[in-house]
Symmetry: C2
Amino acid sequence: MHDIAHPDPHIEGHFQSSESVRDVVIGLSDGLTVPFALAAGLSGAISSAHIIVLAGLAEIAAGSIAMGLGGYLAARGDAEHYASELKREQTEVVTRPEDEAEEIYQIFDQYAVPREAAAPVLSALQANPAAYVDFMMRFELGLEKPASSRAHRSALTIAASYIAGGIVPPLPYMFVHPPYVVGGDFPVVPLIWDTTVALKYSVLITLLALALFGALKGRLLGTGTLRSALQTSLIGGAAAAVAYTLARLLNHS
Amino acid sequence: MHDIAHPDPHIEGHFQSSESVRDVVIGLSDGLTVPFALAAGLSGAISSAHIIVLAGLAEIAAGSIAMGLGGYLAARGDAEHYASELKREQTEVVTRPEDEAEEIYQIFDQYAVPREAAAPVLSALQANPAAYVDFMMRFELGLEKPASSRAHRSALTIAASYIAGGIVPPLPYMFVHPPYVVGGDFPVVPLIWDTTVALKYSVLITLLALALFGALKGRLLGTGTLRSALQTSLIGGAAAAVAYTLARLLNHS
């Protein structure tokens, strides 16, 4: 059935890879945004880098599992919905041929194609039940056959992308080290000496990552490189700014 | 154009409300899952209810903005993609009529409908350019015209549902109160006296909320009430368990 709808293996390949791209985009954009905003928000209220890293990693674990399992179940649900509708159409084509014929006429009627023009198409479909069912699935119900391994792959792709994106914002907090004295009179001040400094580095590298990701996404999906880069940075920045402000306000009240 | 594809206002209404249902499902399922897992994870590592509530609220702010804005941009992107493809088809129908006719034949060829059977349909479409373009949008490109106000509504629905779901898991942590002495010899022990107790209540009410939400979702989408209730509880529970274990391991290492 699948071969009828997509006779060209190149088209099918393109179709599957664009679904994987979509999964990577879903995982990366949420992974870069939510742990970023959480770390920024906590920095507005507490000074323990340890807790911020802990919260960030707990969020990455929670988010990647929730999104991955969610993606898995959504893909499984699509596949089951397709299978049950396919079965129903296969039965109806045999048991209620007049109703199915009327549905074909109605599909064409929506495009002002009269019954007598649609009749030859109906006859051709009736001569080939498999193609008839396929036609109804696509043109009556608007359903595409999902790739069989899609659910597992989708779950893993989304979860891995979420982790890859999520690990970026908490990174600077992992290198927080307070000033220390080695032997001389002056303390050695490490690059990142408290969470306020870590937040600045986190904002810097995450906005860079968001812009880079947005640019690549805009290029792949053809929505414009610069515009997409600005959009993803804006979403991430807005979420982080609101979380930071909210945490500060709550902490001072 | 829209009226041609969906002549029945009832069908259109059904279609829009099912998209809103989908937005509520997206927002609620992530809102109930991720703040739940975050609160559980932090409970495994720190004992300050204040910080857990703060992290939960920061996450809800971050998550609702990221998902809402993400949904807005996705819907806007769909609308722009539809508009640009519509323009292209409208031009091609006029400037490259032979190519468009060949595309019609190819669409039908996928369903084993011979050229001579498809020819009357092609003639009918060519007599009505608006319907012709509509037919190509739907059957060549598989695109449905998005509702015009969809982007705003989708963003608000997703964000509001995320907040509504997200507020449930941190609730018990807001009522943590240590035992206190009023006048007698024995301290008064409140219902929730530390974060370990709060975690138990959080698990209880969130799993109940997840099961209730899953049951309603399964009923609305027709995927089975009990099965859907089990699935949503399982995802939430798994995410929370992993986040809790991870935070405990990290805190003890």
